[in-house]
């Protein structure tokens, strides 16, 4: 029984961690290459989820909706970068905070205007709606397995893109030393519009895939944005590998904390306390990990800058 619970929670943690990685990958490149604090990254995640909910309903196909939502969010990201964010790279962090905080307000209100204040329903595709029996006596939702699969495929594709292509080489050069990369002839500005669009597309994948599991609602981006920041700080700002390790660490810690801490507390606390403190402590634990990493390894686990 406990063995099954542990496997199940490990899979849940893997699934959440991979989705966090998709969010953190774009964020860490923006932060690492351009030294830009983008609080609006969570808004792209929200937009991706809303577009997915609408497009999947309109086309009647989960897959088609996913592709369209990802492309649309990528286009929005590219336009946003081109029109606004590139004006902020040279500015100080305060201006970036103010501008991207403003973008959060604008994005949330735009969504409220277009889709209304209610939550959106987004169902898993019918083929994946049921459970699969992973081990005898251990059913697991097929959709969650699909999320893990998508996460793994996208993470692998991103890894190949960053480590095996010319563009990835330029991105890594930019993250490790932007001025030097520019001096060597890399057009950082143009490269960066592309990077930002890819980051937005990754956000949309995460938002669309998590949509059926979490609520598609206004403000969904704000909660997960901070987790994504935690991930990239733990991993090392600008490092994709760090983002992957950090995301899995945070995903696992969060899921395990939520699942096991209440059980642990029930052993020596009255249940009404245990049920509240467990999930709270799980959230706190993540920030403790981050504070610890910052304290002992201020550059993160995998520093990107040489």
């Amino acid at each position: 029984m406990t063995g099954i619970l542990i496997i199940e929670q490990t899979l849940n943690g893997l699934q959440f961690g991979l989705m966090l990685f998709l969010l953190a990958a774009g964020l860490t490149l923006v932060f690492g290459i351009m030294d830009m604090i983008n609080l609006a990254h969570g808004s792209l995640y929200m937009l991706g989820a809303y577009l997915m909910a609408s497009l999947a309903a309109a086309t009647g196909s989960f897959l088609l909706g996913l592709v369209l939502a990802v492309l649309a969010t990528g286009a929005i990201g590219a336009v946003l970068e081109f029109m606004l964010l590139r004006r902020l790279y040279e500015r100080d962090h305060l201006s970036q905070v103010l501008a991207t905080f403003a973008l959060i307000l604008i994005a949330n209100e735009s969504v409220r205007m277009l889709w209304g204040p209610q939550q959106m329903m987004l169902n898993a595709p019918a083929a994946l709606a049921g459970p699969v029996e992973l081990l005898p006596g251990m059913p697991y939702p097929a959709y969650r397995l699909a999320v893990i699969a998508v996460g793994l495929v996208v993470a692998a594709a991103l890894y190949l893109l960053v480590t095996r292509t010319r563009m990835g080489m330029r991105v890594r050069a930019g993250a490790s030393n932007r001025e030097m990369a520019q001096a060597m002839g890399v057009d950082i500005r143009r490269l960066f519009t592309v990077v930002f669009a890819i980051g937005a597309m990754l956000c949309a994948v995460a938002g669309a895939m998590l949509g059926p599991l979490l609520a598609v609602q206004i403000g969904m981006g704000e909660e997960i944005l901070i987790l994504a920041f935690v991930v990239i700080v733990i991993g090392g700002i600008g490092s994709i590998r760090g983002a992957l390790v950090g995301a899995l660490l945070v995903g696992m810690a969060d899921t395990a904390g939520r699942a096991f801490l209440p059980i642990l507390f029930r052993a020596f606390l009255p249940p009404e306390y245990a049920s509240g403190i467990g999930p709270g402590l799980a959230s706190i634990m993540i920030y403790l990990i981050m504070a610890g990493v910052l304290f002992w390894k201020p550059q993160g686990l995998f520093p990107a800058r040489g």
Binding site: L84, V97, A99, F101, L105, I106, E109, M113, I284, F295
Partner: protein, 331 residues
Amino acid sequence: METQPTAARSGAAFAPRAGVALALWSLLALSLLPHALDALGQGFYIGFASRVLVYALAASSLNLVIGNAGMLSFGHAAFLGTGAYCAALLWTGGTTSAWILWPAAMCVAALAALVIGAISLRTRGVYFIMITLAFAQMLYYVVVSLKVWGGDDGINLGARPRLGLAPGFALDLADEFNWYYLCLGILALALWLSGRLAASRFGRVIAAQRENEIRAEAIGFPVYRYKLILFVIAGAAAGLAGALLAAQNGFVSPKLMHWTQSGSLMVMVILGGVGHRYAGVLGAGLLLGLEEILSAYTLHWAFWVGLTLLGVVLFAPRGIAGLFSREAAGR
């Protein structure tokens, strides 16, 4: 932030005497405001004005940290919330005197700032932003998860505390006029003290380390200790603002500690003009005023607030105070 020139120098943009005169005129205008509102039949807005004053106190305390010291703290709501919860918990425990509630809130918030600051101030730049954010989020989740403290719902207080001024006489804080003048008095006192602080030897060391931390350290100032003291002072002031906010609203909720609250305070400071002595006041007045006015016309006021903030970033990079500063025109 070693590479970021802050706008703090604009604090000296007004000649000292003109600054005093301007401050006194503003204080006079603010003293007359509730009577003017009342005469216009807009008495409802006196409560709103008090709320602006309390937020101005909170934002001004953050301005000490960001503007004077150049430390980008993204977790200031932690101290606002700590103060509010401390006052609320003492209140539900049966303490009604403001003379106990508010100093206690300041002390507990100062203690929180001491612990958080002692750890966070060892980091620099974006890492300082992130670690202060992390600590604030920790406190947020502590409060959310403690069902005994009301969890998500917060704590209802019902009434405002008792402020005894003499034996047998207490100021009636339920009266909106009294409450307004109390908030105005506290804010004015806090601003005067922070002005004194900035002009003192302590304040000059703080400014020196903002411009060049390594040099300030090389000269021999214990920079870390100075920054920590400033951080604690700002935390205490934010704690007082939190306790006032709890009394004003009659309830506290974890939203006070959410990172978006830290974000709003930061937005107020930037909007006002980082480092300008009155940035917190200008920013709080502008942001809350904008929200209040726009929400009367449209359900989607946040959209227009966002657009306005974007406009400020792009066209008034030094905030509202920067627009009026002579130095800004000279550059």
